[in-house]
Amino acid sequence: MNDQTMTPEERAANLKGLGSSRKRVEDVRFTQGKGNYVDDIKLDGMLFGAFVRSPYAHARVVSVNKDAAMAVPGVVAVLTAEDLAPLGLHWMPTLAGDKQMVLADGKVLFQGQEVAYVVAENRYIAADAAELVEVDYEELPVLTDPFEALKSDVVLREDLAGQTEGAHGPRKHHNHIFTWEQGDKDATEAVLGEADVVAEEMVYYHRTHPCPLETCGCVASMDKVTGKLTLYGTFQAPHAIRTVVSLISGLAEHNIRVISPDIGGGFGNKVGAYAGYVCSVVASIVTGQPVKWVENRMENLMSTAFARDYWMQGKIAATKDGKITGLWCHTTADHGGFDACADPTKFPAGFMNICTGSYDIPTAYLAVDGVYTNKAPGGVAYRCSFRVTEAAYFIERMIEVLAIKLNMDAAELRRINFIRKDQFPYQSALGWEYDSGDYHTAWDKALKAVDYEGLRAEQAQRIEDFKAGKTRKLLGIGLTHFTEIVGAGPVKNCDILGLGMFDSCEIRIHPTGSAIARLGTISQGQGHATTFAQIIASEIGLPADDITLEEGDTDTAPYGLGTYGSRSTPVAGAATAMAARKIRAKAQMIAAYLLEVHDDDVEWDVDRFSVKGAPERFKTMKEIAFAAYNQAIPGLEPGLEAVSYYDPPNMTYPFGAYICVMEIDVDTGEWDVRQFYALDDCGTRINPMIIEGQVHGGVTEALAIAMGQEIAYDEMGNVKTGTLMDFFLPTAWETPNYTTDHTVTPSPHHPIGAKGVGESPNVGGVPAFSNAVHDAFRPFGLVQSHMPHDHWRIWKIANGLGMHG
């Protein structure tokens, strides 16, 4: 079939643009084992690095003896803080305005902290030699509880002694980092004082870890002849890493090339800058040879990028018929030994102030106190925009707690407090402008889809049966309506280390009508090579199959802040559409010239410009592309390419309604997810197949977090969950099937109306699972029990409620 006989719909379908469940182009490589991950990189003369790590959570480092390690054949170097100090690299700046030891400088502050870095000819020799480095420690008192830490005389950060001013304002105690306040404290306290009803609860979101299947790693390769450093690594933000490496190493930025190859999952773990990167770069500069460092799983869980660890004290006020009048939250945030949280500079607690959720709460106040303890630093956004999952969990628990206090149905309580459709754009009491939403429609659709009333009737019968001794299983119905804030963000209020959080896309159309696009982001499994080509296909009318996507090479891609916080689609996706529109604007002029009419006399028609009123006279984008390279068009430069750096005017606010139905065995604490319904509204849907896949994966990560996954410490600061034996990752066996659904409320400010979806299922999933557990025990008196809800803890709930006879 040729161009003239195809309908516009058929031509649009051939493009595989927006809305197409196009199969992923990445998969041809991945399914054959032909991905190229950092540990697959092998360079001539490549050495391996391995860390000596502290077994203690808090100790002085009295001495480090390298002799035995250096004597092992094949060992090239052993680096300590003393070796890095002359270069000024024994400490490094963190993303949160603090500084962090690269290698232990006199003391260690968490178990697993990096003490020495061994460089050897292969990984076996490096591991052997690391065992032989003799470190003499003197143990110090350990603080693993943030509330204790704020009272203790023990000074964790002696390097900050006497500093009463931190990066985010005054420090109240030697183990205190910052206080961050939002909203109106006095007004909120007044509302609480006058309210008909106030529900109060401590909601703890435990410490956990993103644990992507591929750990963090890098290969640093310094070419002493050209003076150029190439750094391959598992970087979610390769351009920012280049700038950071330049700033801390003193190497000129044009002499640094950062490459993120294929990344085996990120989930926030791969945003930060880690000691392994710095040591590998130094080792390559010193030896003149490439140096590879890849952490093992235990190192990954113990030292890079924990998430959460927020103690959220909440008060929620309402009228006696359930209208919420105020919300108060004080959070104690355990940041570990260094404040290395990955948040935009002005947001030391991320976007925790989205904690009013989906509700029209007129008055609110939030304060967050950051605290040092003897735990690993990190504080990354594990599959969420900065601290949004903590905020969503907090409000969705507080709603349930309020429902208990009011003796109301929690679905109805939500419904009467939702921000109404006609209130958007909505100004929240804690400072955000929600761009769009239609919560009531989504909520009603979700309740109907699961037959909510039928479920409640079944639950009532189950309770009767339980009381009559006919069953030992309870039924929990976990409700959640979440609102996210993603797509950081407007440069005017979001930066990381001073770098504005815009993003970018460059598109080049080739003469024969195919194209290459390069972005400032980097896929870690999201399928950017597939979906961003779809945006371009719809904008400029070339088939997605003819568009190559490249990301992750700072020498070729335009500068961008990377992929995390669901920002790729809201920010880089917008840049992609805008760059494509620049190309289309030039294509319009070329088409008009070729058709010998005025620019305004042609109109866009799927994949071509045609003369208005004479659709049989047209030039396809393919023809226009060729003309751009072979015609001398008066007033136009040859070629057809464009670049866009997009600074979004606002963030986007995806939302969703999730319902979990769970069976719980009172005697064993075992749980079984009978049904999980996930309705997401991410605005315009680019690739429904990929959206559904993101939801499946995100809800499964939420299942893990809510039902068993944690980074647990004993009182000595030992990590108790340092391997996959103890750290819960669900298998196919524990994981249920999910039902996905959607509504579409496009973002009014995004060029194609898209909002981002990768993190919604984790943000909404955690409260849905947790609320199901709580809901099952609500009739027996449970108000609040901390996650993770593993079998033992669920058994303890039942036991504590006297249900074991």
């Binding site: 399914t31 896949g693 391997t723 066996w733 994981t735």
Partner: protein
Amino acid sequence: MSKMHVKLTVNGKEVEGLAEPRTLLIHFLREDLKITGPHIGCETSHCGACTVDIDGKSVKSCTTFVAQVNGADVTTVEGLTNDDGSLGVLQEMFREHHGLQCGFCTPGMITRAHRLLQENPNPTEEEIRFGMAGNLCRCTGYQNIVKAISASADMLNAQKEAAE
């Protein structure tokens, strides 16, 4: 450390080399033979990213010495591609049903699924979930992996029937 001579068949080709007695099979495959499909995710046998097929059994190559498989017949995901270079049935079905995202677990997943379907050509969903429980995925939530394996079973059975 002194090295020993090892000889095995990998993806239908005889290979040999020198390895320390402690050299793990995954390192021998990835670093000596440059077969980088199998990945290292945990080094404790939990995640299954390193899964290979050895003499008709699924084995985690991160906790197997190459010395243990001297003389064995080893298949990795690279060996599951059709002779003409096109995707094998499982590879194609994983793509068709969006059974992968970051791709890191995929080689182990597909290699394990290959053996599962030899062991049980008509698995139920429950049998697939149980049979794949030694392979972790952090991206997909397994739903589409189960679908891909089930569709592969149907396709392989149809191919077998057509050949008979």
